[in-house]
């Protein structure tokens, strides 16, 4: 059994106040990473602050060139969202590949992005789609937000409220899923805008990153150079060399699927 205090505040201010009380306090969004992590004792917070009763955090709205999705939007709602499918079909597809139907009914955008698992799908979309991460204290540009394995620009107690994805001219996501966990062994998200191409890779390294050499090659019509394995992950699932190779394959698939 999990041993922790549990709070379910009705407002962001109340949630932030609970987090500021001190001790190891964790925000709970969908819980589909945090609860398993607590069961395996990878995390042992003293208190949980459940964000699910705070109104207004799960909307989806297309506003100009931004698709804004509330942090508590469940994966299933995003994958099936009409605005999402119309404005950024590649994003709807990416979300439909997360976990399984039961996980998608509970997991949330904000939870995934705040956790920044190096093999999660969402961070690649946030980075490639030049998103703005809005919080209860301000906002972060995606380029500054992801800071390596499970690390983000969020300050202690800061809560993601909404993420504004920039609507691209075309985009695609290709993922080589680990067959058991469905996490990305390597995933590549490509987004084409009027002012350039952005390519984000997940699963391969200690956190999602932009593959700038590929971006430059695509923009210039040149051949994409191989991704160097030097900074990539090597573990029981795959070697760094294999991941580097997969990144090239996933990029080619994404480019072929760009729409």
């Amino acid at each position: 059994m999990i041993d922790a205090a549990y709070h379910r505040p009705a407002s962001l201010a109340e949630a932030a106040a609970l987090a500021a009380r001190g001790g190891d306090v964790a925000y709970l969004a969908g819980g589909h990473t945090l609860i398993p992590a607590m069961k395996s004792r990878l995390r042992a917070p003293d208190a949980l602050v459940d964000l699910s009763a705070i109104a207004g955090l799960d909307g989806i709205a297309l506003e100009g060139d931004r698709l804004r999705i509330g942090a508590m939007a469940r994966h299933a709602a995003v994958a099936d969202g009409e605005d999402v499918k119309r404005a950024i079909p590649a994003l709807a597809k990416l979300v439909s590949l997360i976990g399984d139907p039961q996980v998608r009914n509970r997991g949330t955008l904000g939870g995934s992005v705040a956790n920044n698992d190096p093999a999660a799908d969402y961070p690649a979309a946030v980075l490639a789609l030049d998103a703005v991460i809005e919080t209860d204290r301000g906002s972060h540009a995606a380029d500054d937000f992801f800071q390596g394995m499970f690390a983000t620009a969020l300050a202690d107690g800061e809560i993601i409220t909404r993420i504004g994805f920039r609507v691209p001219d075309a985009a695609a996501y290709a993922k080589f899923a680990h067959p058991a966990s469905r996490y990305a062994l390597v995933g590549v998200f490509v987004a084409r805008f009027a002012d350039g191409v952005r390519v984000a890779v997940t699963g391969a390294g200690p956190g999602t990153f932009r593959w700038t050499a590929a971006e430059a090659a695509i923009a210039g019509g040149g051949v994409v150079p191989a991704l160097a394995p030097d900074d990539l992950n090597s573990d029981i699932h795959a070697s760094a060399e294999y991941r580097a190779h997969l990144a090239g394959v996933m990029l080619a698939r994404a480019l072929g699927d760009l729409k």
Binding site: M1, Y6, G31, P36, L48, P101, N105, R106
Partner: protein, 154 residues
Amino acid sequence: MQISLNVNGVRHDLDVPPASLLVEVLRDHLHLTGTHIGCDTSQCGACNVLMDGKAAKSCTVLAGQADGSEVITIEGLARDGALHPMQAAFKDAHGLQCGFCTPGMVIAGLEIARRHGPDVDEATIRHDLEGNLCRCTGYANIVKAIKAGAEAMA
């Protein structure tokens, strides 16, 4: 911690430890042991229940998160002694062997029927069973059962 749950149409006001899991509340407090704990790591789907109409892994939902919601477990599907069409389809298609995964599979079948309707195809069923593990059947008859069950529910 006080929570209120509607389980299989009956309201329960319960006093549970603060971070209990929904599956613990169902099994240990309400003695609804049809919902199984298989892996306890969100992989196997044996603990699937419907929460406000949508399938969820009850080993990965806290009691507090479920507070105020409507939960349907495998025990809540039959009506007046007659099996739910999805349960009947599992029986008719022999969609089980040892039966351990079956409650979660039936709930997954209901989720598939809800999302894809009566004409769902085999490939979709197989894809949407990604979060449910069966170690006996090889899945063939489970897929047949869900297809027949979804049709029968129309």
